[in-house]
Symmetry: C2
Subunit: 350 residues, 2 copies
Amino acid sequence: MNIKLNTDEHFKKSNISKIKSFRKRNPSTSALISGIADGDIAALSRAITLIESSNENHRSQAQEIIDHCLPLSGQSVRIGITGVPGVGKSTFIEAFGSTLTKLGKKVAVLAIDPTSTISKGSILGDKTRMQELVRDPNAFIRPSPAGSSLGGVTRKTRESIVLCEAAGYDIILVETVGVGQSETAVHGMVDFFLLLKLAGAGDELQGIKRGIMEMADLIVINKADGENLKQAKQAKVEFSRALHLYPPKKNGWITKVLSCSATEHTGISEIWEQIKIYVADNKRKGTFQENRKEQNKYWLLQTIDDLLKQEFYQDKKIRAHLEDMTQEVVQGKLSPFAAAERLMVLFKEK
Amino acid sequence: MNIKLNTDEHFKKSNISKIKSFRKRNPSTSALISGIADGDIAALSRAITLIESSNENHRSQAQEIIDHCLPLSGQSVRIGITGVPGVGKSTFIEAFGSTLTKLGKKVAVLAIDPTSTISKGSILGDKTRMQELVRDPNAFIRPSPAGSSLGGVTRKTRESIVLCEAAGYDIILVETVGVGQSETAVHGMVDFFLLLKLAGAGDELQGIKRGIMEMADLIVINKADGENLKQAKQAKVEFSRALHLYPPKKNGWITKVLSCSATEHTGISEIWEQIKIYVADNKRKGTFQENRKEQNKYWLLQTIDDLLKQEFYQDKKIRAHLEDMTQEVVQGKLSPFAAAERLMVLFKEK
């Protein structure tokens, strides 16, 4: 869905007053829905705040908004971006996002960082690192939602994608830190997964969790500039060779390696070209749509699983016995299977 | 636990009559337990059959046996062996197992193959492929248990490990086919994970699931003989280079690449040497014991998860609505989270 942006002065003024009104009072659900459909950033922000709220009324209001936005969603290209801290994710997103908005795209930047409660929003929290993009009227930036469980944070981000799409964003960038389990979650909600890397004295893989390289649809060696240029070229060759040893993906795609300099804005367009080829190729083969259907199914099963576990582990009787039983199992005194069955009997007693 | 094998004629005779008695009637639980503790193969076989039975009485008898065997278990080295069909797993296990028994080790060979119900025991089912090992008094070979769910098959194999260890087997080899989810399961129940590969014209990775290479503690290029020798050497170099790009494992181990010829019995001892180094190294650092504790905990949580899902998906109301809801979710008409919550409400209604 492409919403044509009206840039005349009158619109600007009316839009500003609208933003203010969304901020001032509690807007109605229907006002938020039509605001989102109109591409209104304040309505979108407010609705995402409802998604992120722990208040029960907010949650049900959010659910209603999502239900109405679902038919308007699904038209974007969802791109996951990961890499260890220091690889230059913010600078890359700034450069990549600006390139896309210059092509007339509307770009939303979301994040998943389950640790952000502790680190107080380590990724995207500091919007000043994206000075250009944050002022871009065609870009929408939202930091990672807070939350203690990955499941909760994931859900909030995935629901935010629906709202951003309904608001007419063509490209959704989902940023994550390449050190935890959040990569699998992000990989399960995007169409394309991009891994940022650094070239350097053998430390280019430090801190990257095992398995992430296999998820990547594209590896980009960042900071390929100045003195790093030679090393970046070498790293490109090495990674290409290593990737050659992997089997091709289910959709037939063979992961590519590119290099770029986010600060010097070189190599950025080539990345977008690759993604366009990937999307066109997979849409033609039907694997793009197929992947999204599988992702929807995956999230249904995953949420059922999460809710079942929540019921179980919050049960008083389970909480009273779990620790002791776990110790017996860990020490090899009780079989894990026998322990699980005993706990299940406890759980089912009413 | 090392059970000294009495090889005099008198013992053999009494042992044979014992085996016959275990086969003929339904032995008591206590007879089976003491039989296993004595290293009696017939008692062990019979007890594993009870583990594999779907009969409720058999299951509870099996549980009692496992509870008694647990204190006797845990002394072996558990080795997972995987590789695509055609890589020569049976021939390798025959050669590797025989090498170990010649060193005075008692070797048990188990298997996990959730597809064996369909393929009628594709792995280990045809014991004739291990002609030498099957006749070896210090080897015990048991095909993959039948079962429709990976969870069930996994559980049976893991419980069988406990019994084999209680029966004095020093080395447990767990075979699996390198094409499905069973590798993760096997990886989660062994101390050492060995991936068999073939050298060859670019097809050395065909059919191997993504992520398996990262699980391996050792990659062995099999069929390194005759005309293959040169290619095997080349593959060894390539894999070593690729592995160099991975981060080291949590326990500090760096995956090695070796080559062997199972048919010509070359390179087999070197594999065992590597495993001994790995075990000694990890026992010294405490990571061997730590890993087993983590595995016990993992299986407890995994089994709880399996049992919860079983309850849910076998529920009549869930079965009545799941398919329709899934379709709505897959088609993007209903959010996966909303669908999961609606189903959960149904499930909790009594």
